[in-house]
């Protein structure tokens, strides 16, 4: 469906995107995960023809996406990061306009508008203006506007910004329904929880380049350990510790500082964690708090870039 090959885009001396490649198949949700300013939105803008890449190519079904009247744009639905709605037009009026821009008219347009509103749960608010909607309802209408022409590929640029958890779950349900219908979705976010829950494959982007691209499980396997414990010690105590020696404890796969804590990677926390705590006791360092957990995308990003996702 979607093939993105070696996209580059510079603004002056700054490289916003420097070699992004990935693909999305029908019925697949591909997440573009990265911190703010990583180049996700520029990539999405190039996918839908808003910005022309300096080099590289975007194709949908083998046809290159151009700008202007490019027919292949009819196969794309864009959900911008902003609430791109006419606040003074009723919800139905917004859908009718955006449907008409994609060539829909008459009964087809009306049917598609009803279907899109029902999908996002706003069928009973069709005659109301978005200015009377909650933030979550506006986000859902924002999504419906991109669906009205029944695109094959949906590009979602941080579509849950500023949304309460309940509305976010409703949007996720909508997106999962679209996946079941065979749509290809590209979902940009800087929330790892969203990517973990929703995406079949995740493309991690940092500084305009693809750092990693795989399924969630595939990315987690790249971690030196599948689990970790995070240990918080008394102030200053951790700095005095010889962490290199901690790496010699049996079962310890990795040791890293993260903020004021020490993160120790391991595959079998049940066997290794007691030995790690004993090592701290042996060093005369009081452990104030410790927390165990499975590896996350945050850990993956940290391992790959040396930075936290929300830096």
């Amino acid at each position: 469906m979607l093939n993105v090959t070696d996209l580059h885009k510079r603004y002056g001396t700054r490289a916003a995107v420097a070699g992004v490649s990935f693909a999305a198949a029908p019925g697949e949700i591909v997440g573009l995960l990265g911190p703010n300013g990583a180049g996700k939105s520029t990539t999405v803008a190039m996918l839908c023809g808003l910005v022309q890449p300096d080099t590289g190519q975007v194709t949908i079904g083998g046809v290159a996406v151009g700008d202007g009247r490019s027919a292949v744009k009819r196969r794309i639905g864009l959900v911008p990061q902003d609430l791109a709605l006419y606040e003074d037009l009723p919800a139905l009026g917004n859908l009718q306009l955006f449907g008409a821009l994609y060539g829909l008219s008459g009964p087809t347009l009306r049917a598609r508008c009803t279907e899109a509103l029902d999908l996002v749960g706003l069928g009973d608010r069709a005659r109301d203006k978005p200015r009377t909607f909650s933030g979550g309802m506006k986000r859902r209408l924002n999504l419906a506007c991109a669906l009205v022409h029944d695109p094959d590929l949906l590009l979602l640029d941080e579509p849950t910004t500023g949304v309460d958890p309940q509305s976010r779950n409703a949007i996720f349900d909508n997106l999962e329904a679209l996946r079941r219908r065979g749509k290809a979705l590209v979902y940009t976010t800087h929330y790892m929880e969203e990517a973990e829950r929703l995406c079949d494959r995740i493309v991690i982007i940092d500084h305009g380049t693809v750092v990693a691209s795989d399924t969630l499980q595939g990315l987690l396997h790249r971690l030196p350990a599948s689990a970790s414990i995070e240990i918080t010690t008394a102030a200053g105590a951790a700095e005095r510790a010889d962490l290199a020696a901690l790496g010699d404890v049996t079962g310890v796969k990795s040791v890293a500082r993260s903020g004021g804590a020490i993160v120790v990677g391991m595959d079998d926390p049940g066997a290794t964690a007691p030995a790690v705590l004993a090592w701290f006791t042996g060093q005369g360092i009081a452990v104030r708090h410790f927390r165990s957990g499975q590896g996350t995308l945050e850990d993956v990003f940290l391992a790959l870039t040396g930075r936290q996702l929300r830096d």
């Binding site: 839908c48 023809g49 808003l50 791109a84 003074d88 037009l89 009718q96 955006f98």
Partner: protein, 427 residues
């Protein structure tokens, strides 16, 4: 085409559903034009405006009395006879345009000044500097009335004897004059004095002789036809219509900037539409809105204030369409050059006010200094106002619309090209 029509329909729907827009762009120009029109309305049975003037007669001579009476009977003046202090106070407070002070001994000195210019008396005219244009009118009419008063007094009153005595003394003292000529002139003066002394008085006296201007003027307003009257509302509606529709053009441009900020522009651009379709739809909807506003404003002017298209209807339509396109391209230019909606609106309002001021929408451009009149030829709103004036109260034909239409279309094309050149498509 379907998509373009949808965009145009959407813009019209959004604009005309906004009460604020309708209030600003339809009601405001009608109310302000009605106000300005009424200020200059001289055709409402009130006749020409009379100039309020205070007169102070310190002389009370036969001549000054005649001058005062003549001024009081002049329909151009609204005369109040006051003492000097009261007259000065009225000028100072702007209650009268000027005060005319006829000095003591005015009549006598004026006769004497005929033979001795050094004794010429001075009439003091104190005027309101904010109304300096009326000073020339007051002075002109004053000269007329003083000369008429002097002539009447000389021919019918005591001033005649003084004039003859003065003339006789002057002839007697004229040392270089030929003796025969002096003798004949003195005999002429003596005959005149004898005739005055022998003239019957009282009821038997002949009708007084009046010396008046040896010509009259027939004043005729040049309008569109013999039965057509000048309608001051026509110019006011042209000016205010142009001003407020240009304000609508600002809304158009700022609306585009807001659409960018809200992400709407991004969504529109993601649709399978060419740049020409996107911009063309915006231009078309802007021009249509401007045209509709213009027609509604003129419909009100016709229904409520008797404004008529006395000239070419086709010419009026052409001027209206050209101005509508000019407004739309002006809006587009604002969107192309502007950065933030807030800052752009302030600057654009300032620029528009300059345009309409220089265009003669507030004050007719013929009142401008010559250099400013030349400058205003480069201002498109001047051509719009002139075009509407020509087709309404001036009653000119289609040919008079051609130049305004051509200039406005030229400006519209220039604005549109500049806007397309500077437009930031990728944001």
């Amino acid at each position: 085409m379907h998509a373009v029509l949808a965009l145009i329909r959407n813009d019209l729907r959004l604009y005309f559903s906004s009460r604020r827009a309708l209030l600003m762009n339809i009601l405001a120009p009608i109310l302000i034009a009605a106000f300005f029109g009424s200020l200059f309305d001289s055709d409402a049975g009130k006749g020409p405006m009379r100039i309020p003037v205070a007169v102070v007669d310190l002389d009370h001579s036969e001549v000054s009395t005649r001058v005062l009476a003549a001024m009081q009977s002049d329909s151009a003046f609204d005369i109040q006879e006051l003492d000097e202090a009261a007259a000065g106070a009225l000028v100072k407070h702007g209650k009268v345009r000027a005060s005319v002070v006829i000095p003591q001994g005015f009549g006598e000195r004026m006769i004497a000044a005929i033979f001795d210019p050094a004794r010429k008396p001075a009439i003091a005219v104190h005027y309101d500097p904010s109304q300096s244009m009326t000073l020339a009118v007051v002075n002109g009419l004053l000269v007329q009335h003083v000369l008429e008063g002097l002539a009447q007094s000389a021919l019918n009153g005591g001033a005649g004897a003084q004039l003859l005595s003065g003339a006789r003394a002057r002839l007697a003292d004229a040392g270089t004059m030929n003796e025969e000529r002096r003798r004949r002139l003195l005999a002429l003066v003596d005959d005149a004095q004898r005739a005055r002394a022998a003239a019957p008085t009282g009821a038997a006296a002949p009708a007084p002789v009046r010396l008046q201007l040896p010509f009259t003027t027939n004043d005729e307003a040049v309008t569109s036809g013999p039965d057509a009257h000048y309608n001051s509302y026509a110019h006011a509606f042209a000016g205010m219509g142009v001003q407020f529709i240009l304000f609508m053009g600002i809304d158009l441009g700022v609306g585009l900037l807001l659409a960018r900020r809200l992400g709407l522009w991004k969504r529109l651009r993601a649709a399978p539409l060419s740049r020409a379709a996107l911009i063309g739809a915006r231009m078309a909807s802007g021009a249509l809105i401007a045209l509709i506003l213009l027609l509604v404003i003129y419909a009100a002017a016709m229904a409520l204030f008797g404004v008529r298209i006395e000239g070419s209807v086709a010419g009026f339509a052409a001027v209206a369409v050209a101005f509508a396109l000019l407004t739309a391209s002006f809006g587009l230019l604002i969107a192309a050059l502007g950065r933030t909606p807030e800052a752009t609106r302030g600057l654009a309002v300032f620029a528009t006010l300059l345009l309409v001021m220089l265009g003669g929408a507030w004050v007719p451009s013929f009142l401008f200094p010559e250099w400013l009149q030349q400058v205003s030829r480069f201002v498109p709103s001047r051509w719009a106002v002139d075009g509407f004036d020509a087709m309404t109260w001036r009653g000119l034909g289609l040919d008079a619309a051609l130049a305004p239409v051509a200039v406005m279309l030229g400006f519209a094309a220039a604005f549109a090209l500049l806007a397309l050149w500077r437009f930031d498509w990728e944001e």
